[in-house]
């Protein structure tokens, strides 16, 4: 007690002295930058960001307070922090492009980062740039509220030994949407015939996190529903083609589940559970947002090079390639941050092409670069000896892609957060609704959500 009060007295006296001598405050750059970063799936991802921050601390002389949190937690805590206005200076949120940024930008809670984006504007991939513009309702305009750091499109992982056990080879895997997903049901039947407790299809149908939404929307685009939201932010869900695509997607996703080709637990899976089920060889294939499954097996050359097949999404039923939806993991600066200048300096340094490339390689290439020069200048990304990374680069950066619809209207972020489509899937599998009924209910809820986000 006495020590405390003495300390107070001293503090008070020194404050007085400081005031009396008009001592200038230390330069702003010396103030620390508080950074929140999404936790990696494996240690190398965390190490890469820790190293990058240390390197910047050294060159800039500014201290970085880095906190690493797991994905869903970080988003919850950001929502809470922005509510109060007591926020970190810089945030990297892996699913933030879908679950956090669009509505924060709409509510004018983010710092406009156009100036940071401009420093590398020619470098960024077009879809990555398109995915970083969001509408601000207060200012009535679109602007860059995030800086792309890394990206991915939906990939498919398959156990080669299991395919072979079923009497097939790589070449037997069909290349078009419906045939592709039917194929694994045949594989399951054959493997079960051999006495294995296994499921052919291992995809999430859960009403939480990101995986189930990523797969549903990939199906939606494959069946011709890419126009669900127009670039001007208008909802086009009454377009018969879109409506039909949504219904078909729901039908094709829930059918195999009801027939026992998807693990029953998949309606409860978090984003890592399909990875875990895959490693445990409970499923033959799994769609995954990144190539994390393969990458996590890097120390086991047998698995990495021989057993795990990485593929892109199948073509449409007409044989034409399907647009890949690019998920961009962004950095953002919330309004109210205490050291916006420091955060911007850090960000500008971090997105120097070489720095970004170094960081992504240290994370073992789970995510793709957002700059084409990285891919062109560094053979790492298209190394022909690697069975996984070049496939991901091809599908995510070279083939035609599209941004998520949140870039057009933040309402779609609420559609994803509220898990409208996953709930529609559950209505079919758990409540025995028909795909038509489930689609109707989802459509009316989506319309209600869009009511709240009218773009002038």
């Amino acid at each position: 007690m006495t020590r405390l009060s003495r300390r107070h007295t001293i503090a008070g006296m020194s404050a007085l002295t400081a005031a009396a001598t008009f001592k200038p405050r230390p330069a702003k750059a010396a103030e620390p930058v508080t950074v929140w970063w999404t936790q990696g799936y494996y240690e190398a991802e965390n190490q890469a960001v820790t190293d990058a921050m240390k390197a910047w601390e050294k060159t800039s002389g500014t201290k970085v307070n880095l906190t690493i949190m797991n994905g869903p937690d970080l988003i919850s805590k950001m929502i809470a922090a922005m509510q109060v206005g007591d926020v970190p200076d810089l945030v990297h949120a892996v699913t933030g492009d879908r679950f956090l940024v669009p509505r924060a930008a709409w509510d004018d809670k983010l710092v406009d980062l156009s100036d940071v984006v401009d420093t590398q504007k020619n470098e960024f991939h077009k879809t990555a740039l398109d995915s970083s513009r969001f509408y601000n309702q207060a200012l009535k305009k679109y602007s860059y509220y995030t800086v792309p750091i890394k990206c991915s499109t939906l990939m498919e992982e398959v156990w080669r030994p299991l395919i072979e056990d079923a009497g097939f080879s790589d070449n037997d895997i069909p290349k078009t949407q419906d045939a592709y997903f039917d194929f694994f049901q045949v594989v399951q039947d054959r493997l079960r015939g051999n006495g294995k407790r296994i499921y052919g299809l291992g995809y999430s149908m859960a009403t939480k996190e990101a995986d189930s939404g990523t797969l549903f929307h990939s199906f939606l685009v494959a069946y011709g529903g890419a126009g669900i939201v127009a670039p001007n932010g208008k909802l086009d869900i009454d377009d018969p083609a879109v409506r039909k695509a949504a219904m078909t997607a729901l039908d094709r996703l829930t059918g195999p589940y009801k027939k026992g080709y998807v693990p029953p637990g998949a309606i409860n899976w978090g984003d890592v559970d399909n990875n875990n089920a895959f490693f445990a060889k409970q499923i033959v294939m799994t769609p995954n947002a990144t190539i994390s499954i393969a990458v996590a097996q890097m120390e086991k050359p047998d698995q990495y090079y021989k057993q795990v097949i990485t593929q892109g999404i199948p073509n449409g039923n007409d044989g034409k390639p399907v647009l890949g939806i690019v998920s961009v993991s962004p950095c953002l600066i919330p309004k109210g941050a205490k050291n916006i200048d420091g955060a911007k300096e850090l960000l500008k340094a971090f997105i120097q092409p070489d720095n970004l490339n170094k960081y992504l390689k240290e994370t073992r290439g789970r995510f793709l670069p957002v700059m084409m020069s990285n891919v062109k200048n560094d053979p790492y990304w298209q190394d022909p000896a690697d069975p996984h990374r070049p496939v991901a680069v091809d599908f995510g950066l070279i083939r035609p892609t599209m941004p998520w619809w949140m870039a057009y209207n933040p309402a779609y972020s609420a559609v994803l957060s509220e898990q409208i489509w996953a709930q529609a899937e559950a209505n079919i599998t758990q409540k025995n609704m028909t795909p038509e009924q489930a689609t109707e209910e989802a459509v009316s809820r989506i319309k209600a959500i869009f009511e709240r986000f009218q773009i002038a």
Binding site: Q39, V272, N275, F279
Partner: protein, 286 residues
């Protein structure tokens, strides 16, 4: 059949019943705890095995937790220290505020005592998690985000009402003549409080201190919301981080969880007698 043999048969029946119920209770109690131990003894790769008993019993997970040699456990002891800091501070503040308040209400007989009693009663009846949303905002306004003090404040808030009731109840057994005698001798209220009231309250203090410590040891929601940086989080929040990793290092998670469970168990079993009598002071009157 004689009355004696009927009684004997009756007793044997009761004994058999007790044995069966005991067996059921043991299984009921043990299964989830056994599962913790089972997972903690397994190899990381065997987490998904379809066994009932650990396939490869090894204490490696405990060593790993102990030496912090797995990335998700890198700050395990730091988190443990935070948990202790929060738990002990909560216990201390709950005791301090609880005794002062109950002393005011029942020994000093101030006229506004009923207000304090009702305030405590009201707090007692708020479902704890219901205030999480406003609490977060308010801690921001108090400048306490990412500060263990915020969690301490929440837990003290919810632990003191119970403390006040128990202290009031227990204090009723201390004769008022003691105070009056001291008063006649000119003792001031603080003197009575420290020299008469507190020493005689010792058993209740132990009970409530343990209660407050266990309460804070169980807390997740507020610790999760209010703390964020690695150096400030508690063990349960750290364990939560495990659930979102590409690996399934659940043997480490459970080993860490078991280590975390040891201190409250030790404290509880040390003080259990005082605890049981202290917590249920009132019971039925009459």
């Amino acid at each position: 059949m004689s009355a004696g043999s009927r009684a004997r048969a009756d007793r044997r029946l009761v004994d058999a019943g007790v044995a069966v119920i005991s067996a059921v209770l043991i299984v009921w109690t043990i299964v989830p705890l056994y599962n913790m131990v089972r997972v903690s003894l397994q190899d990381k790769d065997d987490v998904f095995s379809s066994s009932v008993f650990p396939t490869t019993s090894t204490l490696k997970a405990f060593q790993t937790a102990f030496h912090e040699s797995y990335w998700l456990l890198a700050n395990f002891w730091g988190q443990m220290a935070t948990s202790f800091y929060i738990g002990i501070t909560v216990a201390f503040l709950t005791l301090a505020i609880g005794t002062l308040t109950s002393f005011t209400i029942s020994r000093m007989r101030i006229r506004q005592g009923w207000m304090l009693t009702n305030a405590a009663l009201l707090t007692y009846m708020i479902p704890m998690s219901f205030l999480a949303i406003p609490f977060y905002s308010i801690m921001g306004k108090y400048g306490l985000t990412d500060n263990p003090l915020a969690v301490i404040a929440v837990e003290v808030t919810f632990a003191t009402p119970y403390a006040i009731f128990i202290f009031k109840q227990y204090g009723a057994s201390i004769p008022h003549e003691l105070d009056e005698a001291a008063r006649i001798d000119g003792a001031s209220p603080p003197q009575i409080f420290f020299r008469i009231y507190l020493p005689l309250m010792a058993p209740a203090l132990v009970a409530i201190g343990t209660y407050a410590l266990l309460l804070s040891w169980n807390e997740y929601l507020y610790a999760f919301l209010l703390l964020s940086s690695d150096s400030n989080i508690t063990v349960p929040v750290g364990l939560g981080k495990f659930l979102n990793s590409d690996e399934a290092p659940w043997n480490y998670l459970m080993a860490a969880a078991i280590i975390y469970a040891l201190p409250p168990m030790a404290i509880y079993y040390t003080f259990r007698r005082k605890m049981n009598s202290g917590l249920t002071m009132g019971g039925v009157k009459g």
